[in-house]
Subunit: 251 residues, 2 copies
């Protein structure tokens, strides 16, 4: 069933209006009509099943049918931070990581990042990623649209680390040395409501100097198994296993 | 370090020869020279670090330096079976699932598959997928190159199910009904050396009739968490959590 994200908090009320681009999508692309149902999702993570009771030239008016009971969001808010990568890999990560439940996406310039983006380019890229993330949220039945932030410096990332309950960095050298326990240990100690930042390097990997700066900020190195994952695959591995640990494997 | 897969079993011997395409790659693309080292991986899953002792016009001759000790393969052989999908999604799955440790890839025509491939088209597609899988195996440090099989009918898949220790099918309806335990249960009961088939539908999903036929063959339905994953994302989720359960989370 179609899903639309409304830019307001949910409050009990008689009717809800769909306007703007989503209105056009529902009316002209989905060709929805009277009595058709869809999900409406609000800023405060409430979601309702709603039925169309009126369609005008500028809005569709819905009434609530039922609350969406099933939790679609992970119990821990996971923020993925990726070094700037070439081509459209960040777009792939944005789409897949949204399906897999990330709460927010940060991208940052790492020493080995080949691309260099000025503020104008970053703003344009952020708009594109926000569109991808919104569409993936609708398609994967999320109750939150993940945030997107493109940073201008590695320092911005370092400063941000203090905002989270726990921080990890996926480090290839940890994999090569057979370190296998940090990820499990961290996921097991996370509590509902916590926030977790996990940092990934670009294609060229994260440098030992960058690792040192992150470790100074109490970010912990972890491995993602014995194989070497590409830059865009590693975040998908991390989010999948978080879902497994917190959503499927709970006692 | 570069990695080449040799089409023979490993036996202790004084020298090893790299010929054909891999020879050209090593000599002309990687511009390897005397004393340079790389990994050589054999059909029987042995891998060695080897050093160049001679380069001729048609081969590179290596001697063994050391065995590769670290296990890179999952303890359970996992075969991914995907319904034929549109565009290059199967290529994406082939690459990423190789990084994530699959042992083999099967693709099959599902009722909702939009593409219809005759034998000629399947052979061409298989060649392309085999190339992707081989390159991903080198890059991700695998000790096995996964197999690729493109089936002509859903029946081929049904008949194949008896070859495996356990079989699963990822079913969206199981997710919607909040079924959360089957995947964990199956992964927990797998033993080293077992084989596991896991089936995924194409974009349009697997039909209830297909599910029924699979269940008759003792294939068990499982959910992959509460969000709806795209056809190409679901296999990556499954392989990631298998690695977590069997490679990171072992006691």
């Amino acid at each position: 069933m179609q899903r639309y994200f409304l830019p307001c908090d949910y409050e009990e009320q008689e009717t809800f209006n769909l306007v703007g681009d989503d209105f056009h999508h529902a009316k002209h692309v989905m060709r929805m009509g009277l009595d058709d149902e869809c999900f409406l999702v609000f800023k405060n993570e409430h979601a309702i099943k709603a039925k169309i009771i009126e369609i005008t030239d500028e809005k569709i008016i819905f009434e609530e049918v039922a609350k969406e009971e099933m939790a679609k969001e992970m119990p821990v808010k996971v923020i993925i931070a990726c070094g700037y990568t070439k081509g459209d890999k960040l777009e792939l990560v944005a789409q897949k990581a949204t399906e897999l439940g990330m709460h927010g996406l940060i991208a940052f310039p790492s020493k080995t990042s080949v691309v260099k983006w000025d503020e104008k380019k970053r703003n344009k890229k952020a708009q594109r990623l926000e569109k991808i993330v919104k569409e993936a949220s609708e398609q994967s039945h999320r109750q939150v649209v993940p945030s997107v932030s493109l940073y201008g410096s590695f320092n911005d990332l370092l400063e941000k680390t203090t905002d989270f309950t726990q921080c990890l960095v996926a480090y290839e050298e940890s994999s090569k040395q057979g370190e296998n326990s940090q990820l499990v240990k961290t996921l097991m100690t996370c509590q509902p409501g916590d926030s977790l930042l996990i940092v990934f390097g670009p294609e060229g990997g994260i440098t030992p100097e960058e690792i040192e700066l992150l470790v100074e900020k109490k970010v912990q190195c972890c491995a993602l198994g014995p194989r070497i994952l590409r830059a865009e695959t590693a975040p998908l591995y991390a989010l999948s296993v978080m879902s497994y640990q917190w959503e499927l494997n709970k006692k």
